[in-house]
Symmetry: C2
Amino acid sequence: MSAGDFESRWLAPDVNAVWTRFLHVTHRLEHHIDRRLQEQHGITHTQYEIMVRLADSDERAMRMSELADRIVTAKSAVTYQINKLSEMGLVERRKCGRDNRGIWVHLTDAGAERLERAAPCILSLVRELFLDSLNCDQAAELDKLLGTWSDNLDDHDRNPIGHPDHRGPEHAPELS
Amino acid sequence: MSAGDFESRWLAPDVNAVWTRFLHVTHRLEHHIDRRLQEQHGITHTQYEIMVRLADSDERAMRMSELADRIVTAKSAVTYQINKLSEMGLVERRKCGRDNRGIWVHLTDAGAERLERAAPCILSLVRELFLDSLNCDQAAELDKLLGTWSDNLDDHDRNPIGHPDHRGPEHAPELS
DNA sequence: CGCGGCTGGTTCGAATTCGAACAATCCTAT
DNA sequence: ATAGGATTGTTCGAATTCGAACCAGCCGCG
């Protein structure tokens, strides 16, 4: 995978295909789920994700910024969505305790209920589209890959490198 | 979170983790690339993708709807982007031949040049973040998986089913 | 011909996202 | 204590996306 001449500028065709398909499939998946979720339950996939994360947390609550990290969107987008969800009564802002600027977003009972209702539908979708096609080995392998990719991203986020010739395989946080 | 039968409604924790991580990683990837591309080359990832697809086609041209399919966005979004790219002079609309309503989008020389300039940067990014972490076996495996997922999606698009009990596993791929 | 039905593209308004600027609050070291 | 710096959320305007409505031009059948 490493060797090659023209590969310094372009990707080997097969590898390129993997990347392209990856993009294509992820987009389609995202799209499909979003659509279904809106049609059948009147919420966005982002909103769904937010509620899931909340439901999974202790106290069914989370900080705004934590949420932003998990969902991977700009903070402003989170504010926007929380406003929406709040208007719908699915979520609630509470100024909790010690940190006077921080805000805890709580999943309301209504929210939990709404989530309960939506979850089976979307989960079965995820199963059919995504999970059922994985046997155990593949799942493990994929999980490992996801971990590596995640690490790579962490790495890149740490060094705000432009596009340095920066050879040298990953794990180079040897910052002097 | 009591154990037991809950897998009919909820996902087994490990499997659930895979899906969550998948979403997380894909979002981050998308995000990261988009950012870099905009900062260093003044174009969106979508725009980049459009140009790549054009460059890869015969005649460096493609139909609007074809484009929409490949990129996986609404037709209107394509129109929007093509307008933008057209204003930038990177792309050109031409009424080609037989079908008087169809339009061929051509990559201009300027477009090709711009693409050539952007490609190395983003490709090296894709390599570092994504591809270099794949050995040959994994690449092959991943490719197969992507194929399966894609098929699943095709399947689902074909049947506009709601959420049918529709048992019958998607003929799980016979991979060794 | 010549009337319905499709398909390819565009236009429009609404929803959502982003990043930058801001305000308030916390923290740490002097 | 206290100034400087980081962190938390919000607000704002610009960019992008989506879907539905719409206008052709194509096609098949009478």
